[in-house]
Amino acid sequence: MEHYTMNLTLKIWKQKNCKERGRFETYQVKNISSEMSFLEMFDVLNEQLIAEGKEPIAFDHDCREGICGMCSMYINGRAHGPWHQTTTCQLHMREYKDGDTIVVEPWRAKAFPVLKDLVVDRTAFDRIIQAGGYISVNTGNAVDANAIPINKQDADESFAAAACIGCGACVAACPNASAMLYVSAKVSQLALLTQGHPERKSRALNMVAQMDKEGFGSCTNIGACEAECPKGISLENIARLNREYIGAVFSGSEEKG
């Protein structure tokens, strides 16, 4: 792989806090190595801004290896940028060439208010889990791990759904800002396991109710969420959530509280 350097124009969303209106600012960065990750390019920019006595750009990031789900940039119209099944932190600069202009925006959804610049508040996702995204088992209550065999296919599908990192790219990419892929991944993971069966009906109802309460949009099966999900969570999970929901409604289950 040939290494090269590039100069770039960056248009980045700047917003002081959730109350003030934001705007785009334009920055120039020079001598960016094709070996850098996208966030390392941001590090370079921030160092440059600090040296100039300006405020650096706030952005969320932590593990920088694609698993914590903290990074969240909407890059040239794409959640986490153009690479398939890749988080922002794993996107590398060899995607770009000298002279390119890159527009970087925060996740945009009313349920994810901007806290500063590119940082958004995703606590709505925590509250959705609180509504029922768990199995009620206190520590010490468990039977032997091999007491309940789980069909391997179900276990594998459950794992595939559990790969969700809760980054919110699905919401960011969805034209409706719907959180269905996120909710369905959790409902699916737990519904596919025998351990999750006792609560499956109330779980589906409660999590959907919370999702609505948080102000996410309604799913209209567009599929942008699946296309942009860095972990390849499948739309099949949304179909399963729909089934779970219908089953719960027609069996007369009730939400709690």
């Binding site: 040239n76 794409r78 034209p175 800002a177 996410f216 949009g217 209209t220 089934r243």
Partner: protein, 226 residues
Amino acid sequence: MNWKHYFTTSIGKKLVMGFTGLFLIVFLVVHCYLNSMIFVSREAFNAAADFMATCVAMRILEVGLFAGIFLHIIQGFMLVRKNASTRGERYAVSAGNKTSAWYSRSMGLLGTLIFLFLILHINHFWVPSRITGGLNPTEVHGVEMHDLYQKMIDIFQTPWVVAVYLLGVFSLAWHLIHGFYSAFQTMGLTMPKYKALIRIVGIIFSIVICLLFALMPVSMFMGWVS
């Protein structure tokens, strides 16, 4: 059990869209089948239309049909309005067609076009046939009935009307390509085993139905049937 509540959640609303949508799809099949009688003969078509107009069961179903259309439109309108409000600040750059198909994002627009077309369409045929009257009488196998066939020929002589009908059918085709699959997905029936099948059947269905519909005004305008 609070039914109203469970059908007004985000999934509940979609279920209403899906159920009414599938019902309307069934109606389209019947409608298309009957209308295709114009390619058989004037009498066959008029007899079929008369059956629809006079059969009690059909009249009852017709009420259901209007209810279905009404629900589909109202619920669809509410969905679009809700979803338009969830983004807040718009993106400066959008993904466009890189992550989704344009028609899947444009169901509201396509639906509105279909709705506008429907107003014209109902006014053309249903209103004079059921309410205002004024259609020529004709006789098929000794039974007196409206000559709806002649009405069609008359109406489809105006180029802009044909154009509007084609636009309506065109919108319907794209609306169906997404709607057919979407209804099954909403009902949770798109398991991996069937998903591809549902997609393909949906696309073929949408194209065939809409081609047939499109052929009707065109044939009459061009004088391919008489």
